[in-house]
């Protein structure tokens, strides 16, 4: 009898303590999200009530040339950023691995870009890339590499690479430190055994290091892909999606439709456009993290 009431009490306390989380996330995540899906199926003009239009907003998006550019840009921005972050992050981790002296300090410095506000980073890169007075152009002209300033943010073909650069600068330390932490858990015996077999550094990397840390690499890549695909700050501040639509990505496009033009149905549809992919990525992360827990 006593045991039963104890168990009931525990259950009640369990629900009571999780209730605030459930209510909060229900009201300000689940509800907005579900109503967004509904609103993406309606059209609302100022002064009239919203009416149901089915998938027309999505059709309109798919038919619009601008949306296609946005989808393509988002893919380029994400794939480009992640690929470079993987390479630079891995180089950083390998360079720091097994360095004993000053490791903590150097790692501390290298993580700074990841700590300071993204807005600061975006503004700083905008200023670094300034056509006439930015450090990059001034230095390039000083060493004689170019004769006139390069239009880093004004040239449609360069602008995407430029915003990717700022995004990589912010994000690669997270990759590097995560990889490094994973590398430090790989048993030294594996490397010793490989050394006996005559394996070189390159072989050790491909045969031991990479397979041992692939779980962390996968989680970090997935997490970063979710965030990068829906990035807003860097592009909004550096180029506002321009020149033209050369760097326009999902979130800046939803902003344009919803906040600038007040076309709510369409902007909801644009917000939800990356959802299928994001949902897949989230499922993958959740499965990975649960597997590691067990």
């Amino acid at each position: 009898m006593n045991v039963l009431t104890d168990r009931r009490r525990e259950r009640l306390l369990g629900y009571a303590l999780i209730a605030p989380v459930a209510i909060f996330l229900g009201a300000l995540v689940a509800y907005p999200f579900l109503s967004a899906i509904y609103l993406s199926l309606t059209e609302k003009t100022v002064g009239y009530p919203a009416h149901f239009v089915g998938l027309r907003n999505y059709e309109a998006l798919l038919e619009s040339g601008r949306f296609r550019i946005v989808a393509w840009n988002s893919a380029a921005f994400t794939v480009g950023s992640i690929a470079v972050k993987l390479v630079v992050g891995m180089a950083m981790a390998l360079a720091l691995h097994n360095v004993v002296r000053g490791n903590q300090f150097v790692r501390g410095i290298l993580l700074l870009p990841w700590v300071i506000p993204t807005v600061v980073i975006a503004l700083t890169w905008k200023w670094l890339m300034d056509l006439f007075r930015g450090l990059i152009n001034v230095a390039l002209i000083d060493v004689g590499a170019v004769t006139g300033g390069v239009h880093w943010l004004g040239d449609p073909t360069l602008a995407m690479a430029s915003v990717i650069t700022a995004n990589v600068w912010r994000g690669f330390p997270f990759f590097g430190v995560s990889f490094l932490a994973a590398m430090q858990t790989v048993p030294q015996e594996l490397y010793d055994a490989a050394a006996v077999d005559g394996a070189g550094s390159w072989e050790k990397f491909w045969r031991i290091t990479l397979p041992s840390i692939k779980g962390v690499v996968a989680v970090v890549t997935l997490l970063s892909t979710i965030v990068t695909l829906n990035d807003f700050n860097i592009v909004y501040i550096m180029t506002r999606g321009g020149p033209g639509a050369a760097t326009h990505i999902f979130a800046t496009y939803s902003y344009e439709l919803g906040i600038m033009s007040q076309r709510w149905g369409l902007s909801m549809a644009a917000s939800m456009a990356s959802l299928p992919l994001v949902a897949l990525l989230i499922v993958a992360v959740v499965r990975y993290l649960h597997r590691e827990e067990e």
Partner: protein, 273 residues
């Protein structure tokens, strides 16, 4: 072996330079005069250097107000998120009830939903509630990502505290709630502090929601204030970089303390990039 060592130091030096140069550019610019910036004089090292840009921020701009708004928002949303998240994390790690695993999964999923996807839906919801353009809007909006974060982070901390300590308290006649407050929470104090500091940093740095939900000039937060400097003119880069340096300072101080937790959190998948 020597070749490998040389390669290692080259890579390290290169990466350090890449990280260092933009940060140096912030600080260097912040000490330049308007003339030096406009005419590209003493580009690499400001000579002579001036603190006019910093003085300007406090005497002639709304910088102090932005700091106040950011601090109020960050502190309030941190306290709110810690309160809600701590209770939730305890429930999900220490108490057994039907649906617990589902709640755990929901928390993780909501944690992973990116703000870039949520800002329009959330904005519509706040419009529906008639509650936009107030610091309170942000104080309610930030916990949408902070609560799942705190819950997820603290679940790890709570798991590392031996159950036996709590069970001993229960045997001594404490109720479950007393055991939580008197035994588990004090032991989890470093975790709570780390979670709180993380929340503060995330709120302090937040830009998108603050940009969309706040229209009133006097309610703008620091990142939004900074972003609007740029519309003015290029001649303001000196003041802007001074503001950028000052805006980064609190989170750098917090980070010096948080560093070790951050690395642990990274590996646990609790902190995302």
């Amino acid at each position: 072996m020597r070749g490998a060592t040389l390669a290692r130091w080259t890579v390290l030096a290169l990466i350090l330079a890449i990280v260092f140069v933009p940060m140096y550019w912030i600080v260097a610019t912040s000490f330049k005069t308007g003339r030096q910036i406009l005419l590209s004089e003493s580009v690499y090292v400001p000579r002579p250097f001036t603190i006019d840009n910093y003085v300007y921020l406090f005497e002639e701009s709304r910088f102090a107000l932005w700091i106040r708004n950011s601090a109020v928002t960050a502190l309030a949303s941190t306290v709110l998120s810690l309160a809600i998240g701590t209770a939730g994390a305890y429930s999900l790690t220490r108490l057994s009830f039907p649906g617990r695993r589902t709640f755990g999964a929901i928390v993780l999923i909501t944690y992973l939903v990116p703000p870039g996807l949520m800002f329009i839906p959330l904005y519509r919801t706040f419009i529906g509630l008639g509650y936009t353009n107030s610091l309170g809007t942000l104080i309610l909006a930030y916990p949408t990502f902070l609560v799942p974060f705190v819950t997820w982070l603290l679940m790890g901390f709570f798991r590392s505290i031996p159950r036996e300590l709590e069970e001993a308290a229960l045997v001594d006649g404490a109720t479950r709630l007393q055991a939580m407050v008197r035994v588990v929470l004090p032991l989890a104090a470093p975790g709570l502090l780390a979670a709180g500091l993380f929340c503060f940093t995330l709120s302090w740095n937040e830009f998108l929601y603050a940009l969309i939900f706040i229209a009133d000039d006097s309610l703008k937060t620091l990142p939004v204030g900074l972003s609007e400097f740029v519309v003015s003119d290029f001649a303001f880069w000196g003041q802007l970089m001074a503001a950028a340096a000052l805006a980064s300072l609190p989170v750098i101080v917090v980070y010096i303390y948080l560093h070790k937790y951050m690395v642990q959190g990274l590996t646990a998948g609790a902190v995302k990039g």
